[in-house]
């Protein structure tokens, strides 16, 4: 409509007016588009949350590894240290199964060792370790958005 061209230098009042309206409308259009994108980005999701509480450390016995299938991770406890390891295959996102040697992927045969490092198959990188924190109420909170280096454990006082 009143799209303007920066090359067309504003001459006289009419052009200036057109330029002004044009800019205002362009900005408004861009802002509407931006606001629509903000609208379309959900603020809450209904799937499993990426930041979730997995209960108090007492739930996990020392030396145990508990699979949480819905959260797609395992909780590993060694003495006073707790860690959360992803069970999502880094190849194409299948869920890996814990095995005697570590983890096996049922889809394309990737294998991982106990630390999650790739030992075979098409997987490009190691399984992710997630950051664990202790919430004020004493429960372990895992944040799937924060990937940490392998062997990063959360120390707990017990």
């Amino acid at each position: 409509m009143s799209d303007h061209d920066s090359k067309a230098a504003p001459k006289g009042r009419r052009e200036f007016l057109t330029l002004l309206s044009g800019s205002a409308l362009t900005v408004a259009g861009l802002a509407t588009a931006g606001a629509s994108l903000v609208y379309l980005r959900p603020r809450v999701t209904y799937g499993p949350p990426s930041r979730l509480s997995v209960g108090k450390p007492e739930l996990y016995g020392s030396g145990s590894q508990v699979a949480l299938p819905e959260a797609k991770m395992v909780i590993r406890r060694q003495g006073n240290k707790v860690a959360a390891i992803s069970t999502v295959c880094t190849h194409l996102g299948c869920t890996v199964n814990p095995s005697e040697t570590g983890f096996d992927c049922p889809c394309h045969g990737s294998t991982y060792d106990e630390r999650g490092e790739v030992t075979g198959g098409p997987a490009p990188k190691a399984l992710a370790w997630y950051r664990c924190t202790l919430a004020p109420n004493g429960e372990i909170v895992v944040d799937k958005h924060q990937v940490v280096a392998a062997d990063t454990f959360l120390e707990i006082q017990s």
Binding site: D3, D5, A8, E15, V38, Y39, L40, R41, V44
Partner: protein, 248 residues
Amino acid sequence: MSIREVAVADEAGLLGRIYRSIFRVRPVPQTELERSQAVASNFFFHIHSAKVYEETLKFKKTLGLGLFSLFTFVVLVITGILLMFYYVPAPEQAYQRMLDLRGVVSFGTFLRNMHRWGAHAMVGLVILHMMRVYLTGAHKAPRELNWVIGVVLLLLTLFLSFTGYLLPWDQLAYWAIMVGTSIASYAPVVGDQIRFFLLGDDDVGREALLRFYVLHVVVLPAVLSALIGLHFWRIRKDGGLARPSTDE
């Protein structure tokens, strides 16, 4: 392409040529020729003739009601499409989605307000537009067919608004549709069949919600858009907006 355009296109670099391939004329047309081309070569403006009678441009002639109706419809289409991203046409979820729009979706309340008030406004504007057309005698020959299309457009607008009324699935919606469809069932012989057909059940429920949703977001807007196109095309073919005959 006129000679001047070709010359301009040749002067420009690659970007300029890409621009010219999309927009045939300079950003702000300078001559009458360019103005005609601006209208005739633009897909969106093509509905217009290149020239219009100055007499019909006066605001008090039409009060802009037809265009207001159209633009309200445009706003409704845009907000409606956005709202569809968060809506689920199922009784268990529809209302909760309304709560989510009100609570947790950015600008959700504003968009829903706009869609809702826009729908009411459109019904009112279309009725006013119809009154304007009649009171200025613009429905008479040769514009009879366009008037009839207009009446159909009014009915479609009412039905479109009515189908949308059910979607929030609150008490207001539910009982309004219950009452509204019951009025339809008073039609002789086929009344109950019409209602059954419309609701997909004996009463307003899951099936009715789904049916109204499909009618509201696909069927009716498509038919309405097509008829609006026809309506505008006829305006041009019937010689522009009605104006006093100069023969008199």
